[in-house]
Symmetry: D2
Subunit: 369 residues, 4 copies
């Protein structure tokens, strides 16, 4: 049952392994008439590219995107957009150890059990490189959303024990430090923690938060395709995510109705506004007009050089020390992945909402019939 496709209307299908020829994505259902060039997409890919700081792997990957179809004379045609990123750093290497044994915290053993064997070169399809296709598609979705006045901002809100302080929140700071943290002091403390972890050949986990503004009320479907449910799936589908929460999230479980309910008032234009936003912008699965705010918990990078207990293919216990150039933390490079997945969800819900009401359908078709 496959599972490489995401979305209903703005539908993406990703393909490619970490050490294959290329990684790519096909976007089906992109509206026609959007101005689009490779640079629009490259900007997003550069945010997840390795080698940007000492906290990301030193592997050299150009990650240069190529548009293979769906764009003509600088505009999308409404037909599938095929995007490809060649894998340039496929240096021949000795894979014997990871071919013959199972890395803790990785899917190696599961792949062997599911498929009978696996592409053991660097994780294959379970590699973080798989997210290239998501980010490329997310760049296109974000561009459409931007034209409609919707914008997304994701950032690192915690690394190991260090959490950002809301009082120091500075959106501009996100792109100034290598950790994508909107709090310069927290970023400094987090870097110290990372240095320590690296010294110990260990790794750290962290949290990513995403805020989406300009979302009209009414997106999302009442039951199984609630907007937050779809966001949760999108975010948990990113490797290494172990938790998702929206608005008051896990804290809601410890609060009371009086504390957690968002009362209503009206703004200067007389439009309804919520007094608080414990819902995180989604109530009953449907966007409520307030900013959407959610968080994702990432586990620490499983690939560490410290010795770990495992078994080999014959089932014999052994000790493994994972070599290679691995990020000591997944989070900073995952920020743009979270933002991309969220953009895909919001755009798909937005397009899906167009058929909800007879009056709007009639207005839409009146000039066409």
């Amino acid at each position: 049952m496959n599972g490489s496709t995401f979305g209903n209307i703005f539908k993406i299908t990703t393909w490619g392994e970490s050490h294959g020829k290329a990684i790519g994505v096909v976007i089906d259902g992109c509206p026609a008439g959007l101005s689009l060039c490779e640079e629009d997409i490259q900007k997003f890919l550069n945010r997840r590219k390795p080698g940007q700081s000492r906290y990301t792997t030193k592997r050299q990957e150009a990650d240069q995107v190529e548009i293979l179809s769906g764009v003509f004379e600088g505009k999308t045609t409404g037909t599938p957009i095929s995007l490809m990123v060649p894998n340039t750093d496929q240096r021949s290497r000795d894979y014997t150890e990871i071919a013959e044994s199972y890395r803790p915290g990785h899917a190696d053993l599961n792949y062997d059990r599911k498929y009978g064997f696996r592409d053991y070169r660097g994780g294959g399809r379970s590699s973080g490189r798989e997210t290239i296709g998501r980010v490329a598609a997310g760049a296109v979705a974000s561009k459409i959303l931007k034209e409609l006045g919707i914008s997304l901002t994701a950032y690192t809100c915690a690394i190991g024990p260090v959490t950002i302080d809301p009082r120091h929140f500075d959106k501009e700071e996100i792109f100034r430090n290598p950790l994508y943290m909107p709090d310069s002091q927290a970023a400094l403390r987090a870097q110290e923690c990372l240095e320590q972890a690296m010294k110990e050949t260990n790794s750290l986990g962290g949290m990513v938060e995403c805020v989406i503004t300009g979302v009209p009320a009414g997106l999302g479907e009442p039951v199984f395709d609630k907007l937050d449910a779809t966001l949760a799936k999108a975010i948990l589908s990113i490797g290494a995510v172990k938790g998702f929460e929206i608005g008051s999230g896990m804290d809601a479980a410890r609060s009371t109705g009086l504390e957690n309910n968002d009362g209503y008032d009206t703004d200067e234009q007389g439009k309804p506004v919520k007094i608080t936003n414990h819902s995180g912008g989604i109530t009953g699965g449907i966007s409520d007009g307030a900013p959407i705010i959610f968080r994702a918990a990432f586990k620490p990078t499983p690939s560490i050089a410290a010795p770990q207990k495992t078994i080999n293919r014959k089932g014999e216990p052994m000790e493994i020390r994972i070599k290679g150039r691995h990020d000591p933390i997944i989070v900073p490079r995952a920020v743009v992945v979270v933002e991309s997945m969220a953009a895909l969800v919001i755009l798909d819900a937005l397009l899906g909402s167009m058929t909800a009401r007879m009056d709007r359908i009639k207005d839409f078709f009146a000039p066409l019939l």
Copy 2:
């Protein structure tokens, strides 16, 4: 874009409003030859039925299920199973207030904005009664899983400030207290908190945990349809859920690679086993053979009698006190809903895994060709 359908192979479609004629579900894709009777389903429905304790609404709903199709001579036929539960407690009532104003924490205003108007009788489709269809279908899925040796156990693990103590965990206790807590002492303390909240016309949130054993390794798909991503969507699609975590969950963000990785060893039969289970039974989106463990955070019941600020349909500020018979906490009745959604996810992934390998496909068809 609808959204009342869940699952790919074992696919369910729910319908019905809280105060309509009936609530129901159609299961399409149930394998033929399963013994099934109404009692199999009723047992599950009884676990979410109102009126079981003073912590659940006193509304009288028989919630009696009827099998309308798909079962012949006591066995499923492979064709759609239509299940219906009539709404018996539709007492005529004065809905003026909730028709004319917006309840904080509810989807009332969103529905009006999405659809232009709404069924204002008790929440309509956004009511908790919508989960009847999920539980009825979950009962069927659970029965199939049981025949394959897979079992699910969900329970309340926290209510307001009270959390169960793992040292007091007693599976038998779950069905002995009205809160479905596997720790009798925590259950008593939780009841005190609930009494207090009720006195204050307030409500409490809580957490549900679910453990699934007997799941073979290899279920789930590598990318967007990761098993945990699908579980997350299933669980967040339950009204009032604000957070989801699997295995070490949110804590993973604060841990190190050495702490969080699950090393491997072999058991007495020489089969691979994980030394720890921080993954919660799913690694890289694929079941890893260990028990699957996840948690869901529920917000407090939004319907409370205490006065709250809101607006009416004309946009005028007003105060609302929600009358009626509402649960002071959602969690106990939601336990079986969580278990049902999880059963649907696991069964669907199990059936979906049958086509993953050429060798097994050949073995399957050899006697049929």
Copy 3:
């Protein structure tokens, strides 16, 4: 892999067997705000009801529809519409023969091989009664299309050797004769053929044609979801249909490019029009603004009283004479089924077309953002 669901946006799921408690359909994705009552649906169901003439079975089925959900104060709410038709004529009967042997031209043997056993009471799910759900949903789709200026007309165009004469085509005549033929003379000749077939305990096949007007250009998708491809699937999914053709259809294979191409001109308003309509209103899979015209070939009713060779469950050769009250021809009652399936396809394509262009998407959301 189920298969009881049709459509992407206006999505229907049917359930029920011929001799079960009821037959029904759930419509998910119906826009909110459509005026809808049971009579709107009943009118369509009455067109397929048995017992309307001596050429249809004398079984007494009231086929009275009940709306169980999705409509509030006379308008659709945007949530699933559940429609149910109780099976009233479930007289207890001796099913031994069809339980123990396989009727030629029926799916009995296939069901046994696919599912291991079958509901042998009158065809179960493979019965023509399954189309009740389609027609009920088609009535709703047709009502929406009508409000948008799109109308569908299906009729019998051939019965056995008798074909309607285009020169005698009279739309009003369709509802005047029991065969739904738009040519009174052909209808008389067809009735003679049917009398003869009935005398010989035999049955006849026939053709249904459907014309759809008012369809705007631009519906349908370029590749796999071509509008005519989706129509073909919809029509072939009706039991007993063995062929589908659109526009010049099968004759196109025998024509030349010069004959078959539709040239363009402009009408009085300067809008493009096709000079001919060999395409049948769909070119390159996309509606071209001309009326959509297609035909479906139905095989003769397989249930006949004449003796036929078959085998029993033990594999022993035997002769079968099928008793009971069977239509000597399927076509007249299938006319409304064809029209209903076409309405579902056109509506779904219409709703799907709303997201094709950035300019229209921007116009749609401008007042909402």
Copy 4:
């Protein structure tokens, strides 16, 4: 609503325009462990490659396939298989005429109306080159089916007025003449007709027939996803197909029940067999064990050099003569496209049938649990 994806389990997504950089397909859901190399796919592509005879366009397209992902050490890994064919013949050309006017029988005008503009270079997405992706995927599906004992044979059964004579049917002949006709005499007569059409700058239509043997009984779903309905959609989704019929097809409408019903007998092993095969191997939407036989009617190539009436973008009437190197008939190169689409349908139904019965599901999982 996109529409570039086909299949449920063995799911393919095609992309690419006739004059873009490349054409491709992503196969998601291919079972792991299948031996696969580029040559397996190239063999199929060579059958639809232009330039094979004087009846196919003289455009030079190497149509060389490249496997970009999903295959490791010569075997499929279970992850998406990305296949790409570069477009080599993109000679710069003067497209003014087809950019500024609408070719009769083409989708030019529809695309403009649907998307606001179009890729006017040689048809863009509506070009026959789009089928490259289908054939590449069909090659993989056919290889799997072959390993399971299922084989497909498609051929030209009519060109213009010439139809093959069943008495001269010779399977070996199919690959001996440039028209893929299994009757050498008919092939000669058809070539004469084509020469005549070419002299008149005209084109011809024709028919393709496909026979599938070795299909086990029980494939296909009872209602909307009947096996023949899915085949019809697959075949009508090929550009230029105007009609589809299975088994007795259109003739069934003119036959009687006694003539058209397939009686049953048993073979030497005592297994049930049908005495005739008017059903074309599918009864009630489910494969009945007999060979599946269907036919598709193709319209004549719309691109002809003879003068035709049309309009330009300003809506002014004009005359068009389409230059370029066009096939005088679509059918011969479409034979492998029909076969490929049929392979995709059969394989998907086969994989989908694995979850139909509890007894087989239990047998499947017994060794895994």
